[in-house]
Symmetry: D4
Amino acid sequence: MTPDDLKALLTAVGDGRVTVEEAAERLGDPAVGDIGFATLDLHRRERCGFPEVILAEGKTAEWTEGAVRRMVEAGQDVFATRVSADQAAHLAAHFPQADQDRLARTFWLPMPGWQPANLGRVWVVTAGTSDLPVAQEALVTARVMGARADLVVDVGVAGIHRLLRHRDKLAMADVVVVVAGMDGALPSVVGGLIDCPVIAVPTSVGYGAAFGGVAALLTMLNSCSAGVAVVNIDAGFKAGYVAARIIRRMYKE
Amino acid sequence: MTPDDLKALLTAVGDGRVTVEEAAERLGDPAVGDIGFATLDLHRRERCGFPEVILAEGKTAEWTEGAVRRMVEAGQDVFATRVSADQAAHLAAHFPQADQDRLARTFWLPMPGWQPANLGRVWVVTAGTSDLPVAQEALVTARVMGARADLVVDVGVAGIHRLLRHRDKLAMADVVVVVAGMDGALPSVVGGLIDCPVIAVPTSVGYGAAFGGVAALLTMLNSCSAGVAVVNIDAGFKAGYVAARIIRRMYKE
Amino acid sequence: MTPDDLKALLTAVGDGRVTVEEAAERLGDPAVGDIGFATLDLHRRERCGFPEVILAEGKTAEWTEGAVRRMVEAGQDVFATRVSADQAAHLAAHFPQADQDRLARTFWLPMPGWQPANLGRVWVVTAGTSDLPVAQEALVTARVMGARADLVVDVGVAGIHRLLRHRDKLAMADVVVVVAGMDGALPSVVGGLIDCPVIAVPTSVGYGAAFGGVAALLTMLNSCSAGVAVVNIDAGFKAGYVAARIIRRMYKE
Amino acid sequence: MTPDDLKALLTAVGDGRVTVEEAAERLGDPAVGDIGFATLDLHRRERCGFPEVILAEGKTAEWTEGAVRRMVEAGQDVFATRVSADQAAHLAAHFPQADQDRLARTFWLPMPGWQPANLGRVWVVTAGTSDLPVAQEALVTARVMGARADLVVDVGVAGIHRLLRHRDKLAMADVVVVVAGMDGALPSVVGGLIDCPVIAVPTSVGYGAAFGGVAALLTMLNSCSAGVAVVNIDAGFKAGYVAARIIRRMYKE
Amino acid sequence: MTPDDLKALLTAVGDGRVTVEEAAERLGDPAVGDIGFATLDLHRRERCGFPEVILAEGKTAEWTEGAVRRMVEAGQDVFATRVSADQAAHLAAHFPQADQDRLARTFWLPMPGWQPANLGRVWVVTAGTSDLPVAQEALVTARVMGARADLVVDVGVAGIHRLLRHRDKLAMADVVVVVAGMDGALPSVVGGLIDCPVIAVPTSVGYGAAFGGVAALLTMLNSCSAGVAVVNIDAGFKAGYVAARIIRRMYKE
Amino acid sequence: MTPDDLKALLTAVGDGRVTVEEAAERLGDPAVGDIGFATLDLHRRERCGFPEVILAEGKTAEWTEGAVRRMVEAGQDVFATRVSADQAAHLAAHFPQADQDRLARTFWLPMPGWQPANLGRVWVVTAGTSDLPVAQEALVTARVMGARADLVVDVGVAGIHRLLRHRDKLAMADVVVVVAGMDGALPSVVGGLIDCPVIAVPTSVGYGAAFGGVAALLTMLNSCSAGVAVVNIDAGFKAGYVAARIIRRMYKE
Amino acid sequence: MTPDDLKALLTAVGDGRVTVEEAAERLGDPAVGDIGFATLDLHRRERCGFPEVILAEGKTAEWTEGAVRRMVEAGQDVFATRVSADQAAHLAAHFPQADQDRLARTFWLPMPGWQPANLGRVWVVTAGTSDLPVAQEALVTARVMGARADLVVDVGVAGIHRLLRHRDKLAMADVVVVVAGMDGALPSVVGGLIDCPVIAVPTSVGYGAAFGGVAALLTMLNSCSAGVAVVNIDAGFKAGYVAARIIRRMYKE
Amino acid sequence: MTPDDLKALLTAVGDGRVTVEEAAERLGDPAVGDIGFATLDLHRRERCGFPEVILAEGKTAEWTEGAVRRMVEAGQDVFATRVSADQAAHLAAHFPQADQDRLARTFWLPMPGWQPANLGRVWVVTAGTSDLPVAQEALVTARVMGARADLVVDVGVAGIHRLLRHRDKLAMADVVVVVAGMDGALPSVVGGLIDCPVIAVPTSVGYGAAFGGVAALLTMLNSCSAGVAVVNIDAGFKAGYVAARIIRRMYKE
């Protein structure tokens, strides 16, 4: 609520056009969906441009189902991530019309009539094949949020020519998401080839001193290419989300 | 060099319009500035939209001076970061026309006639007063790269109303850079209030279990607000750089 | 035993009212319950106001059963935490009258006639739904120790208005326990809104750089709100215990 | 602002007793002290019962002076912590009437007429002599916030009888703050002797695998005594603050 | 492609002996095997002397099979490591002629007619019996890449005479690979006895403060014998690979 | 071999009493048991007073069996630790006369006629019941090596009187082994009560910031009682071994 | 105080031979030296066989002086460690008769007439020359506590023959203290050559991944020689103290 | 000493050609230089091909001087590393003929008549200018040990064409040493371009999450290029040493 909105509301109270009770509610309590085990943020869409996204991990299948149901009732597109095989089966039984991606482990149930917006240009690039599930999560996220997004797979720096083949394509991107485990070196090379923002996602691919993605995370934070920002280990969702925020700023009206 | 460029060049060789030697040079050796102790990337501007930036830390004053001089000779804008007091004095003696910011520890020597582009809208927000030097580095970086950028200072989450005062302003930003040490909680709150990308910068402000910025870094990587990407501890420069890359994509024709 | 008690006892020995043997026992050996694999502290209730609590984790079901039985024999209320499903089934068979909470993983077998004291006002607040098991452990602990305690669920900082709805309620609390994983940012915000002590519990909810709760733990230790003290990761029990100690000091004359 | 306050305010607007502008200001902008390099939270006292405390570390002497001055102008008691020798000298020159404690590194400038409230009973206990500066910070903090607080020094567990001498005294406390470095074992012993809340402060005293206080911090988080909550390494201030919050809840009308 | 090659190619274009299209392809796109979920580096053999090696871990059995098949089609020797039991069974069904080592968890399918080259002298030495799987991986790798390699097992430093028995043998090696977990002390002793390069492999053998191989890794990085270089924890493959690179440099014409 | 032994041997060679071959063998090759997958140190008993102990963890049941068999053949007492349930069953089938302790996970097969020596006085003290398996491993180890050893269970510092009951007993010990997880505070208290060496064993008992025993390990390394030395996490075997070495020095002949 | 002592005391009270006041004092308050900033444990000598040792680090010179003075008054031998150059100068001025070792950084002021006991046999062995200060601290500590102790310097495992020269000497020791930084491998080799207890001291000698002694510490905790116990990084004092405790048990009737 | 040597020696004893004393010395005591504070390994040259190298760090200037002098007396080439400015000045006064490199911080005093061997081909490649001191240490080390070695400076992956310019040169190397801080990504790219062994040296260049070289170290250990082995952070000396060992194996007779 902007100051102008506020003054307008108060003026309306002063004029009697709005009751005191109505005004108090609008000022004091933005819409939430209180369902006992969760307090859904039904105002997120207004503030942040996209509804609250459900992190399924750590929730029972029933809790997840309940959260989905409440958001559907509120007329919101429902997106859930890190959905386990068991949760996916449970949700499929209750929401058969939803679009579930097993590789990305995502659940997508938009309002009827939703169409992909396909705005701008996002490339999701992986260093190896094992990084695919995380990359797919980024891809699906960016797409449901309205971005046009595609994959370039397995172009790690041990065979740098594999990346250089795609240089022109990447040079025309609005955002590049780079997904890499092990040494996490790919974003540094990509960041030095292009002029758009690079969102780097470390993955837990690797063993030993990879420490579940810590090695790749540190590499990316210390990238010698300045145009690289980083998200959490395995957080394909976050990378897709940030990429889509950039795209929506650029292309939406 | 795009495939079309390449074919054009080869056709020119075939036609005799370009000599074999010339072609070999253009293919084999993009411009670098080799000055013994450094190999300046004089092609960075073409690939990445902004010349190579000099990290002064870890270099002697003479090395830094040499790098600056070589870039000036190559007709490039020169930006250096993490310039110590000693280096700053040395550089001021040799390049009195440069613009040095003591709080940000930056050095800026653009080509004659340079004017700030003032594109878009970047807000650099700090949790505390002690985060100012890092924020200033982000601010200066974003500005020299063409963005319009301004500060909101000391609005940490212990007094959340200080931030909420600026909500309307932030809601209209293209990018928000959030700089915070200690608990690093501010980006999570900011990310939940607005719909543009948030670049979070952990700072080494704090003591004990702050571990020189590690606590804030982890907080930001695990932000419950999905629209937050993170850069290295105290890396105001990187945050400003990423922000400017986003702005330039949006506004430069 | 206070110095006055001591002098009184010694005087009684001097007077012959107490035998040397009796005095030696009272001085040298406070009551313990020695059952071979454990030495139960049957004097804990006198010193600390509540009997020893059994940590079931790491014990066999038989060891746990034996400890419960010995405490019942000593006429003490028996509380156990981190009871696994197997242990719970075993205990239910032997102590069917006990009150077991499956979400909190607690076992509660008070002496006959026990009534909840419902003293003061404790709020247990969670950042997300996945933090519920830990919060429930805090809740149950506070209640069996005599506090009046209730839950506020899923009001994390990404949608700060969800918390602000409860501001008045929290402002009247005696203690607030805040349970959060991932970025662990919620206690900092809560601590800045109210004037009572905040006990923060980091949870292992999250992935990647959450490091099993380390990120949230560090956030909370570095909270920019000064009124926040922290307990171990997932230690709902400890938070409830500390909260109850505060309440009992306040309300138990 | 409670819902009732809000309705009252809106009713007053409806009645014309309060202008729209006044109401907008009261709703939209709680008092802050904006001084360029800082945004002082002048409303902290109302929400949290004590004014914002200035962390001097990381600020220039001038910034610290400016923050103090602005709070004095706002009619607030001014407390600053981690004041360096240089800052202390600078502040002494500008605010000669302030009470500075060199061991605790604190600065205290209350409004004229302030008297210590001396409420309740806080004991600050240290394991060793080297823990004294941190303990003194806790002591001064608790006192300026209204608690009656005193020291018990150097009673670490290597000579447990030193602690047992004070058992009766500690058993009558409302809160005990325990300050310890190295093995950080003291809070576990204290917590098992008494029934009030224990606030443990790890210190950076020690060497080698003490890791600047990490060893003591982990010990305290894993205390086998359940009634122990922990604050940051060397954070005497926080321990005193939490202790005072508990005391104020107990004793202030 | 050397500068001379480049000039030759361009001259051929100038002469019309090579078409522009052909030249562009040779310059711009070294051979890759693009199979959707992977981009095989079919040029690795030319650059690095041995084809790309497939890391099976983290891939589905089908992905692994597909990668093997594509490399066979390209006429390359196929080596895969960290093959799980399930993957091994799957691959055995499709490539029964391949040589799989269950202890080393390797898969080897050379082109028909391949013969081991048996160049030079590599000794793979282990500190304990539990280090055998990692040592075997090093052994197999070195052998398929053309080195003559053999094992010395269980000669850790707690019984130093076990190692000294093999001193003459080791003194005649070209490379010694030392595999050790727990304290990882063996490479320091070996490095002080001989004059050839030592490649040390820390293993995850051990418990407690072994931290999954971190203790051994740090020991080896800090070896007081200067001639020791280190690879990742459990990375028998890498040690064998580096050893073979050294051997091939020495002995291949 | 002492210099005198050496001279004696060489003199014997000079005298012809010993052949050159015999002398070479005695000088160059102390007895080992080479069984392909292991090189048993059959000389350990002579150097260190007790035969090589087999660490079963990380070995197959067959490897373990083979090592046991070879040591039996060499006429040595066989002790193995960290024997899994599967390994134990396999070994029981082949060596039914062996003494296996399921709680300690040990295997003990002495030469016929072995009798416990029962030398000196070792107390193994645990902080909690869950520390019992580690304590039992220490106990069994100390006994098979000839020490008289007994347990004191569950006397952690939260109820310090439980420990003080045993003060006289402990004061007469030759060595005290203290086993503790969680805060690991017990050795500091024990070390301050007695005058014999204390061997501290951190255990992985605990959760959250216990970090699998790291918290207890650090506590013990930083013990404010100087007479405490530490072994690896969960290394009951090592503690028992060190204790027995001390005892054997004291009491054997 | 043993139970028999206790009964004797109480009987004496019953008999009137001891007054109630006297008995209360003896039971309730073992001697301490309370000097405001410290509570000296004047009973340590009785319990632990040696008086409290003063850790000078972290104390002012005046605090250290005060503690020394109070112990002298109590008729106790005074030993202080980690004495800085400044503290040493201050103490030398006040206690010129004390014996200060600048390499070990120790202060030793025994009661008049003290003579070294020279019991048993302790060898302090170092891996390198840089480990000397820590080794010297161990040496001095062991000596003032009554042990006969000597140095073997710079016999690290990179030249294992340097150690083997001393094998016979070490084989006759009662305790061997091994001091090593960098890879910390020496204790594992020593532990496998002899049959007495080995006390290992990691030092902070080294750089990079030595992490201030952490690498050596982990090596030693994971020693493949079972007879090795470990003390804190750079804790020569502790190693000497534990060694002396063992010696005193052995040799002091 | 090989078994054949041993038999020969013993035969000579049997024949009386060698005295018992001589034989005992040759068997029992390889040459060491015992100078009180150090035990120089004068046999290192025979075993390892190059004399013991002196690590000056952590030694006094006098200790360093003494070690140099003793090695000169033994007729050995003397090489010292990590020589501080103060040590360098001290050594220059005593050994003016030595060759000291201030950038590399090395000291080199060969026997008269020494000539560089210039064997093979080593390239030392750095990612940035700040990595130069470490690279120079590698360079000098490789040279004094007989290798031909040269530098390629500042070709980090942010401008990958800088490296590609040198591809042909590197492809002909026998060993490539790659020195990089910050993200440490360069060895992965180099390792994928060539077929010789790569020795990677992480440097402490960088800030924040570079953690003094840890980030680069982990990157290199996890390199997706298999032909990369790693040495300690900032250990230019070790990299040069390993490189020279490889070269000497290849080229010396």
